[in-house]
Symmetry: D2
Subunit: 385 residues, 4 copies
């Protein structure tokens, strides 16, 4: 396997979604982070890209420079991720597709339906891949629910209920904070606020899992904070092409909901439920049966779920990122030692040989105690007594 | 930032912990996977390393070859991970430390206390880092609990209760399966079964969070399946140096527990509870107060927790791995197109431009419907009507 | 305190709601079960009432007899509960109110709005109490949420989301079973199926907790099983008089939901959430604060909640019914001994003196062992060694 | 069915366990509350009993009076409950058994093992029932777990893990409060603190569910608050007669645990788990199978569970007590009207005819709206428009 080259537009320092793309692209070792135009501020973008290991000549000041620079290279990037604000997605995505690049575009892919159709046609015409980052559809157990529907295990699907509600924009006092305000301002956010921002994920999940498409819908929007023009709370009733009833609630003023993305799918023969805050389990109930918990990594899970799960059953789905944290600390410690610089105290919590020794001494102590009918024994390694 | 070079011993194809190390080392882009001796079978190890992008001359047949090969290089690895079976950890770790390499060793670090002391002394003598992969201590919220104890928020710690119990070795009919049997056979596993395998993580967490050390303990071991010599269920009572009472239960026959690692810490002024299956939250109760849920990513989280969390509050801790799954699929799709080979159907579930378009059309439909008092409207993009 | 006399119409042997009324009316000792017309079959009703301790002359064959019989008595019933099928509520309730009785009527109170207005006016005219059994509003923590809204703790209420969805009528094969079919047949159930049966509870909770009334609404109904005329799944968007947005989903085909009644109330200053399946807790999040769990029985709970909670903090809300089960067994055992009849084996699981003795011996053993540093000791009472 | 007569000793006004006994004895209508000596203060006890409906001549000043008074009556009580402080249980229970009464004694039954043996022998000699209020064993799902073990569904039981830990005595500042202090003072509480108070319930559950007895044990006790002599935290390892391993943790300083009574039973063929805070479900995992949730009231539940559950599947186990709360309010309202006294405002939250009417109007509105494709309609009853 040779690595593929990857580039990124947007996702600069302090951005919300940037880190997830860098972790995501590099974790499995398929992609080298080779090029980037990461920031609206050209200098900051160039500097940050280099600090992340991108070569100086591929740390670009803006996406047009990047398009020009990459187009001509032998080792041009195989994939570009577009993680800039929404209004720029269409232009950038289109330009890169036309220049023959594969694109992963953040959601929403475009600002209008016409632009969306144009992107679909451009991808077809150029034969390039244009993907959209509906990342919740990539959780192993979400894929498994899609399999369950496709395989007929649930029978015809009668009803799908999807929510994506949080409370992070509930503060009326914060409504004029520019970081929040633009989201409810049609001049900046377009036709829709919360529906376009979060509801769209829930709707995509509903169609992804059922393998169906939305045909008609009816919506009720509310702007619960007076200064807002666009909706901060919405309810949508919809129908899928095969007759499934759909219900979707999305809100930004649901104080107490942290990341309230969940979905329930009810068929003739069974129902399944999944919550993004506990992504490793699906609650499955067969008609007239008991609720069963399908576990990430259990034997016999569908191929499409297994394909994206690398953890064995006895480990939580997010476990590799805890391991990654050890490496983050180690990189800091190695660099500090190498460069003779002080180690950031926050990075000095990784387990050291002393921890390895102390636990081993404790294990030996448990063995000795158990043999002696529970007698209390010293658990310290001799060198620390 | 230039990348550091990383190598791995063990963790071959199909191994349990190998993938987590590769994801962990590469996710943040600090390390390039440069060298490896991945398998007990030299040929399989060489081939697998190359399939993962390691250069042919650094895809070694065994660890001695790797030690020799790396020792002399300019661009020698900055860190080596030892993820082989337990009985080899000591020898390999010691050899690499002595040759001047930093090591991340899997747990348990050694088979005996004497070996453990030797590793601690070797690390000191050589000035190299020797870390141990007690990875649960690297979850952001576990670090935050450590901060809470250290800062005095909980007062003096009275009691810590840690469990790590699962049911994955509960099948008596499976007890003679070689993949299970060796764990309860002293000839292969050493003095302890489940305590050394899992209990050790729980014990390490107890000391990590309290910032204290185990002084004395009393244990009760049981081998509930007759053919087993070593314990498959253990209870340990212990004392920490500052007087804290400790309770630790660990089991492999707790049918129904998937990954039952949890910890509770009770101090004079408050208590905290954490479960590995829901790693993004800590349940915190102040003395005479209500239980509060501390959320990953909330404002004002301690520096030592923030340092290892890259997700903003509105996203689950394991979220970047869902994003990574999109990239896994894209890498497969890009390679298939490039090479003219068929795409694995299991990799063809990433969201495409059509999905981006369809959701955008639905958003527009919700806006139109909401404006029309909930009238039902067509939600399909014109090109798909 | 002298006891009040209580009577019941409907709720015969095997009925669904009958037992809850008998437990409910008698538990606190306020009411004596004095009269009843419990069954559509007069003989069965008379026999069953007597088997429950009602005197023969007050075990009536139908409600008209009961009305006549009670009207003239000195010790006439102080309250009558109407727990018959829906279509009879209006007639019976009206007749008893007019004869000067207080009435607790099951929901729905009437079949039409006109009848409902008539009952309201009749109650006013007669000066009698007419209550309706919206029993979920009587959970202590639901009352406490009402208090939180009334006291202004949550600020103006922006949004209320209520669900009552279960999967108990999801079996298409069972749809023609008469016990299920009538619910979806307008000839028998009236204008509405699931909305009138369950949705009505959720809607009542929404108005009870917010202390407000529904002004306008928009609904989407579906009959997901072809043979059904009335809805088995419904979504309602509504507005309360003070501007609160409402969302209500109710379903009978949500396979896997057992008793999915829950409610979320979001105000300017905080949000609260409650689930009927865990009725003793309210999840409360202040604006910009952490989620806190308000516990049944905690100090300082509101007066209106405390008034209906008799369990101290360290006991679950339903605890007295576990105690009641001991008394159920004891009554059976006492009667069997008295009458020389064999005891139903299912009633012979109450704890006996032997259990009291054995645990005491175990407690003494723990004390002895703890004093002896954990030595293993015999835990059996001498008489059983 | 004629009612049985019931009497109570202890459980006076403001006592902790008294209300649960009164609710428990009366709920099912088997017992009439006929006699009582409820308080250590004779006058208060007599007054309180009468306020609860006990006749003046059977509202006794102390238990000796009650024994004398009841002994001679035709309609003497069929059962007496002893709910006084622990040190009085033995004397009272013994006296009533010897006089030919059936007794339900609170736990712990006696202060010493010798006394316990004496009670067992007395009950045998007199042929009277002596029961002990281990009420958790009477939850329907606990009984069902007992059935699962007895029927062999779980195979031989390897391990049982029981906890009963709370944090209600964790306040060092409160340790000298007399209501707390006596529990840790051997002069008042006897040989054991938390083990005798709460651990005993967990231990009883372990033996009840497994149908086995404790043979040997080893304990570790701690008094984490310096002024305490008796334990406030204890860990017990035990063995049952058939070889089952037992683990029991009990604590009063586990800040944040409200009523932490839970039990896990692991057999050769499966495991079950139950938590007292969610008493209506058992989590059941067959060997090599998925976790299934057994629901209160599901079809085919064991006879011994069904016998003590009166709620159908679609209602939570504690539901009848919510209904009871409606009756509590109604009794207050009826008495206030009858007596012309003002109604306690806390009792004025029961649903009235207006609520019945308003919901009916809303149901009609949903029907009209659904028929009109979701048009917004007025939901108010005409008389309130
Ligand atoms: N898939 C998901 O779950 C998810 C989650 C969060 C955000 N998003 C999407 O990701 C996109 C970015 O959102 P965010 O929250 O990270 O925004 P952000 O404001 O936090 O960051 C945007 C970044 O893009 C840079 N940028 C802006 N304009 C640029 C340009 N013309 N060229 C290069 N860089 C530019 C900014 O400097 C900044 O670093 C949005 O489209 C958003 O909808 C998706
Ligand atoms: N930190 C954790 O949470 C965690 C979790 C699982 C395993 N582990 C530890 O990781 C280690 C490996 O466990 P596993 O479950 O992945 O084992 P495994 O049997 O699944 O894999 C072991 C791998 O090491 C290779 N190997 C064996 N001997 C070798 C040698 N001499 N040189 C090179 N490669 C060799 C094997 O070919 C195989 O690929 C163990 O020490 C285990 O305790 C830790
Ligand atoms: N508040 C709640 O949560 C709740 C829950 C369940 C049922 N309910 C309501 O309670 C009522 C009864 O429901 P159910 O499920 O118990 O019904 P059911 O069919 O199980 O029982 C009805 C009982 O009424 C008796 N009966 C019928 N007609 C009678 C008559 N004319 N006179 C005397 N007795 C008569 C029947 O013999 C039977 O015993 C319904 O109105 C229902 O909506 C309310
Ligand atoms: N089964 C359980 O789960 C459970 C729960 C709580 C308490 N209990 C037990 O119930 C018993 C009472 O506990 P409590 O918490 O209710 O105590 P409490 O102190 O709250 O109440 C004790 C009551 O008994 C009365 N009393 C005391 N001495 C008396 C006497 N000689 N004659 C008549 N009345 C007398 C007091 O006046 C008071 O009303 C204890 O044995 C306790 O262990 C059991």
């Amino acid at each position: 396997m040779t690595k593929l080259n990857w580039g990124m537009i947007g996702g600069g320092e302090g951005s919300q979604i940037g880190p997830a793309h860098r972790l995501g692209a590099q974790a499995d070792g398929h992609f080298t982070f080779a090029a980037g135009a990461l920031d609206i501020d050209a200098d900051k973008g160039r500097a940050y890209a280099q600090s992340l290991g991108v070569a100086a000549d591929r740390a670009y000041g803006n996406w047009q420079e990047m398009l020009d620079g990459e187009k001509g290279r032998e080792d041009r990037i195989d994939l570009v991720t577009v993680a800039t604000p929404n209004s720029t997605h269409y232009e950038i995505t289109k330009a890169f597709l036309e220049a023959g690049f594969n694109v992963l575009c953040e959601k929403p892919m475009t600002m209008t339906v016409e632009e969306g159709e144009d992107i679909v046609r451009t991808a077809e015409a150029t034969g390039r891949i244009c993907a959209v980052n509906y990342c919740y559809s990539a959780y192993p157990m979400v894929r498994h629910m899609r399999h369950m529907v496709a395989s007929g295990e649930l029978g015809a699907i009668r009803c799908v209920v999807a929510n994506f509600s949080h409370g992070h924009h509930a503060d009326a006092g914060d409504a004029d904070n520019p970081r929040v305000r633009w989201r409810y301002d049609p001049a900046m956010a377009g036709v829709s606020g919360q529906m376009a921002d979060c509801g769209i994920h829930a709707l995509n999940l509903a169609t992804f899992i059922t393998g169906d498409e939305v045909t008609t819908l009816s919506a009720d929007f509310a702007s619960t904070i007076p200064s807002r023009v666009l909706e901060d709370d919405a309810m949508v009733n919809f129908r899928l092409s095969k007759g499934t009833i759909g219900r979707l609630w999305t809100s930004t003023i649901a104080i107490g909901r942290m990341h309230g993305l969940d979905i329930q799918v009810f068929g003739e023969k069974g129902g399944v439920r999944w919550h993004s805050e506990q992504p490793g389990q699906v609650w499955y109930t067969r008609l007239n049966g008991r609720t069963e918990i399908i576990e990430k990594g259990e034997g016999g899970i569908s191929e499409m779920a297994a394909h994206v799960s690398r953890v064995p059953i006895a480990h939580p789905e997010g476990f590799p990122l805890a391991v990654a944290n050890i490496y983050v600390d180690l990189a800091a410690a190695i660099r500090a030692r190498r460069d003779g610089t002080p180690l950031d105290p926050a990075a000095d919590h990784f387990p050291k040989a002393e921890a390895g020794l102390r636990s081993m001494a404790s294990v030996y102590a448990t063995v000795a105690s158990a043999k002696a009918d529970g007698a209390w024994v010293d658990a310290r390694p001799p060198m620390y007594r």
